[in-house]
């Protein structure tokens, strides 16, 4: 019986050889495929095994990872709730992160190349490398004010956005989109809870997940007159130069007359440019636009930042939250010739002109900062996990120079006049020089007008301390005055607590 026993021994070796070969197939050949499989929860668990870094502003943590007893060791929480939701975004267990959580993911997660030294050290000490910390430029006071004022606006607008930047650096002081959302349920470890919270927000009216401050483009209305005024100032027109006005203006070849917001506004045949801006004279700017021609207006818009498709707001050097491009749109006939009617309407910020709130703030900032437009940014500093080493301190840089210092000074005078004598009185701040421009933009015949305000504040030395844009969508009558009031509050808060530079 020994011969078959020996053969059984060989059969056993063959069976184990098959097991061995199969394990090789799985653990060596297919290992990478299985390791990175979508069905492999280990990747996720491993991700939550290390503490993700904080996102902080003004010394307060706005996104923190808390240790849990669960299988996923750290829970991402957002103590600021809805207030910072559009800046921070959120980091869901399943799915894609948004906001700075997505943009700065490598650094927060600790996988960034910049943290290689920390990882090597932790490899020796056996610690699990935590993620780095991201410090924001936001002024918490300005952000609080922007959020509260937008939510409790006096005209009952449910959608809108506000953004404030430091004109001299480009540091974003406040960024709010309304309606907002609470990111905490979206980061829940209970995936059912997270999914239902997401679905609810996705279908909610007003689309709360959308970052209107950066991604919404709306007709800018009269705020666009600053761009047209800049073009005029560079084309031989002074701020005291008389320009044609009137109570009504019908551009050649088109029957639709352009009127002013009220019969009392510039009914006379001529007004100074200063007055046209101060009182927001539609007929004056429509005629001015037709006089200057589409190329001049388009070029000036481009110099202020219109048509830029690759602008991001995040770290100064690289990356960041994407910004929708602002557009001047078409001012031509189908045959390619100039359409004076379209040109006239575009010159008062209607027709196909579309602008993001950020673009509005950047126009005001450039005017306030002597014609120099700084690149906007949100990330002030990157801190190592142990908070000792500092990486990548933001070094403000000029983005472009849309107007000369002289033109900027003239524009400043006119915008200050708007706040002191004109439509923007609500934005005034004691002890500071405030300039701005209101805008009331028609979107569709059956919808109420959008209320805009772009503006800036200068300290007693004439230095720009804050530039802001507030938009209240479908706010109706009084919208731009309310936007001006909110803008003034935000700038006052930003002055009190400027945020990181």
């Amino acid at each position: 019986m020994n011969a078959p026993l020996r053969r059984v021994g060989i059969v056993v070796i063959v069976l184990f050889g098959l097991l061995f070969a199969n394990l090789n197939w799985i653990q060596a050949y297919k290992a990478d495929e299985y390791r990175t499989s979508d069905y492999n929860g280990r990747v996720q668990v491993a991700k939550y095994d290390r503490k993700r870094g904080n996102i902080e502003a003004g010394g307060t943590a706005l996104a923190v990872s808390k240790e849990t007893d669960g299988e996923l060791k750290y829970l991402r929480t957002y103590p600021g709730g809805a207030k910072y939701a559009h800046v921070l975004g959120y980091e869901p267990v399943n799915g894609t992160a948004t906001g700075l959580e997505r943009v700065e993911n490598d650094f927060l997660a600790g996988t960034s190349d910049q943290l290689i030294v920390n990882r090597l050290r932790d490899m020796v000490t056996g610690d699990r490398t935590a993620g780095g910390n991201v410090l924001l430029t936001l002024s918490r006071q300005a952000q609080d004010t922007a959020y509260d004022e937008l939510r409790n606006n006096n005209v009952g607008a449910t959608k809108g956005a506000a953004i404030a930047i430091d004109p001299s650096t480009g540091a974003v002081q406040a960024l709010v989109s309304m309606p907002s959302f609470d990111p905490n349920p979206l980061a829940s470890h209970d995936t059912n809870e997270a999914t239902s919270a997401y679905n609810e927000l996705e279908q909610a009216a007003g689309r709360p997940l959308r970052n209107r401050a950066l991604a919404e483009v709306l007709p800018p209305g009269s705020t666009f007159k600053i761009v047209v005024a800049a073009a005029a100032l560079e084309n031989g027109i002074g701020k005291e130069t008389q320009i044609p006005a009137g109570s009504s203006y019908t551009p050649p070849t088109s029957g639709e007359p352009i009127r002013n917001a009220a019969p009392s506004i510039c009914p006379q045949a001529q007004v100074t440019l200063m007055t046209a801006v101060t009182d927001s004279c539609n007929t004056g700017f429509a005629k001015l636009g037709v006089q200057l021609g589409p190329d001049v207006i388009k070029e000036k818009s481009r110099q202020f930042g219109f048509e830029q498709e690759d602008l991001t707001v995040g770290r100064l050097g690289e990356g960041g939250l994407g910004v929708e491009a602002s557009r001047t749109g078409s001012m031509e006939n189908p045959d390619g010739g100039v359409d004076p009617a379209a040109l006239a309407q575009s010159s008062i910020g209607q027709r196909d002109v579309r602008m993001t709130p950020l673009q509005g703030a950047m126009i005001a900032a450039a005017v306030a900062h002597n014609g120099s437009q700084m690149r906007p940014y949100l990330v002030r500093q990157l801190l190592a996990p142990d908070r000792t080493t500092v990486y990548d301190t933001a070094d403000p840089r000029e983005l472009r120079r849309p107007v000369s210092g002289q033109v900027a000074a003239d524009l400043r005078d006119m915008m200050v006049s708007v706040v002191e004598n004109g439509t923007g009185r609500n934005a005034r701040i004691n002890g500071y020089t405030v300039g701005g421009k209101t805008g009331t933009a028609q979107s569709a015949p059956d919808r109420p007008d959008h209320g805009w305000f772009i503006g800036f504040a200068l300290d007693s030395n004439g230095n720009a301390v804050s530039a802001v844009c507030v938009v209240l969508e479908e706010a109706g009558s009084g919208g731009s005055a309310e936007a001006a009031r909110i803008a003034g509050r935000i700038m006052r808060a930003a002055i009190a607590q400027p945020g990181g530079r």
Partner: protein, 496 residues
């Protein structure tokens, strides 16, 4: 019986010639290997704690020390009751058993909250329960060694055991599902929170019966009548017993919804028939019958469903587990992902995510361990299993009586087959079936049955390695054994 004709060719039979070489018990080698195995278990426990708890608790050595005490007791029993038993069996099994306890304790640590971890005493959790079961199982194995002083004595109860085995196999099938079904397989008898798998013990009982029956019938079964394609096929009437076992296996397959157990019993039977008769034709008949039956069950499962549906589903999952990765294929998919994530070197003890695996303490323990020790670690585990199996087969080669040869050979092969079925199942080599991984999986009945199996192998190997009285003399048989059988006679060496 070629080996019997030239005994010196096998080292295991060297003891038959005291003039050439003195038989050695090698008990001290066993003791050293045992300490080495327990040192590995203690080191594994420390590595797990370092990774899971970020610190090694002062009590990390306690489970390893408890196991060492238990196995030392077993070693002493062997020293006195089976002094010539194979010295590698106990350390190898102790290592697997210890790693199993260590891994189950690792699962407890991962499941416990930080507060609960402090209260995780030595007998707490599934790891602690496995430790307790190890204690009971080893005591039972020692008792078996004490009671069964000669393995041939059990042949007296062969028919009783055979009947008991069939009852044990069929028991879950006839019991209501509420007390016999867990995760779709009717393999259990549950009384309250306590559950046993009677099939585990049936293995042992049936093998005793097979061995006894085949020793009696082997002459008849090895008679050939038809020669076809150069292979001698048995007479039709001699197929009877094989067909009976085949039918029982298929009934198990269909009604207990378990291909693995079915494959195990049938493979066990065919292997013992082959060893007894030395006829390759039995192997071919067995393979054709089994795969024919399985294919038939597959076709029936597709066509009519009913009791065959479960087998059909399992086969479908095996063919493409990723087709339904979140429901039917979930277990297998997660097992594969765990193994793949482990890769060559593994995540290190305590470094994996075994809790993501369903049934990680039972069926999928090999995948759970595989994630942490990688291909190299699993290969080492397979080698230890292989070592146990080959040592069992060596005991069968060395022992002089046919019953012992069949018993030890059958047991060793069954152990190998069980490892093949479950490891092959979780690694998608064969369709997945619910089997325990010997000595590793949590569970009392499996551990107990396998330790009894080891006790029998120890007993047989002791008989095989025990020196005989005088050169070429008779076996030193205790009185009361069955009469010497015909096949032991030297006339057999003239058989081709």
């Amino acid at each position: 019986m070629t080996a019997a004709a030239t005994p010196a060719s096998s080292p295991a039979t060297a003891g038959e010639r005291p003039g050439v070489r003195m038989a050695r018990s090698r008990r001290n080698a066993e003791l050293s290997l045992l300490f080495l195995a327990m040192a590995l278990v203690a080191a594994y426990g420390a590595m797990v704690e370092a990774k899971v708890l970020d610190t090694v608790t002062p009590g990390f050595w306690v489970p390893a020390a408890a196991l060492t005490a238990v196995f030392l007791g077993m070693h002493l029993v062997i020293r006195f009751l089976a002094p010539f038993a194979d010295p590698a069996l106990l350390p190898a099994v102790a290592l697997l058993n210890g790693l199993g306890v260590g891994f189950l304790r690792r699962l407890d640590l991962a499941r416990a909250t930080p507060e609960e971890r402090a209260d995780l005493t030595i007998f707490a959790g599934i790891g602690g329960r496995q430790l307790a079961w190890t204690l009971i199982s080893v005591i039972l194995a020692a008792t078996l060694l004490a009671v069964m002083r000669d393995h041939r004595s059990v042949s007296r109860y062969a028919y009783t055991l055979g009947l008991a085995g069939i009852v044990l196999v069929m028991l879950p099938a006839v019991l209501p599902a509420s007390i016999s079904e867990i995760n779709g397989a009717k393999l259990w008898v549950r009384i309250g929170s306590f559950s046993i798998q009677p099939g585990e013990f049936a293995k042992l009982a049936l093998l005793v019966f097979f061995a006894y029956y085949l020793v009696r019938k082997r002459e008849v079964l090895s008679l050939a009548s038809h020669r076809f394609l150069g292979i001698d096929f048995p007479r039709g009437r001699d197929l009877g017993p094989v067909l009976v076992v085949w039918v029982i296996s298929l009934l198990v397959l269909v009604f207990e919804k378990d291909l693995g157990t079915s494959l195990l019993y049938f493979g066990m039977f065919v292997a013992t028939v082959y060893i007894a008769t030395e006829r390759v034709s039995w192997l071919l008949i067995g393979l054709v019958l089994f795969f024919g039956g399985a294919y038939l069950a597959y076709v029936l499962g597709e066509a009519v469903g009913g009791p065959f549906a479960n087998f059909y589903l399992r086969a479908q999952i095996w063919l493409d587990p990723f087709a339904q990765p979140y429901d039917d294929g979930y277990q297998l998919v997660q097992g594969l992902l765990a193994l793949g994530t482990g890769g060559l070197f593994g995540a290190g003890p305590g470094g994996g995510q075994p809790l993501l695996l369903p049934e990680v303490q039972n069926d999928f323990i090999f995948a759970g361990i595989g994630e942490e020790i990688g291909l190299f670690g699993l290969s080492a585990l397979l080698v230890i299993y292989l070592l146990i199996v080959e040592r069992g087969l060596r005991a069968a080669l060395a022992v002089r009586d046919s019953f012992g040869k069949l018993l030890a050979g059958g047991l060793a092969f069954t152990l190998a087959l069980q490892v093949f079925v479950i490891v092959g199942g979780i690694s998608k080599l064969i369709p997945l079936t619910g089997q325990t991984t010997p000595f590793l999986s949590a569970g009392g009945s499996s551990l107990m049955a396998n330790w009894l199996l080891i006790a029998v192998l120890l007993r047989v190997s002791d008989a095989g390695r025990r020196p005989v009285n005088g050169v070429g003399g008779k076996v030193n048989r205790p009185s009361g054994g069955p009469p010497e059988q015909l096949h032991g006679a030297p006339t057999e060496v003239i058989k081709p």
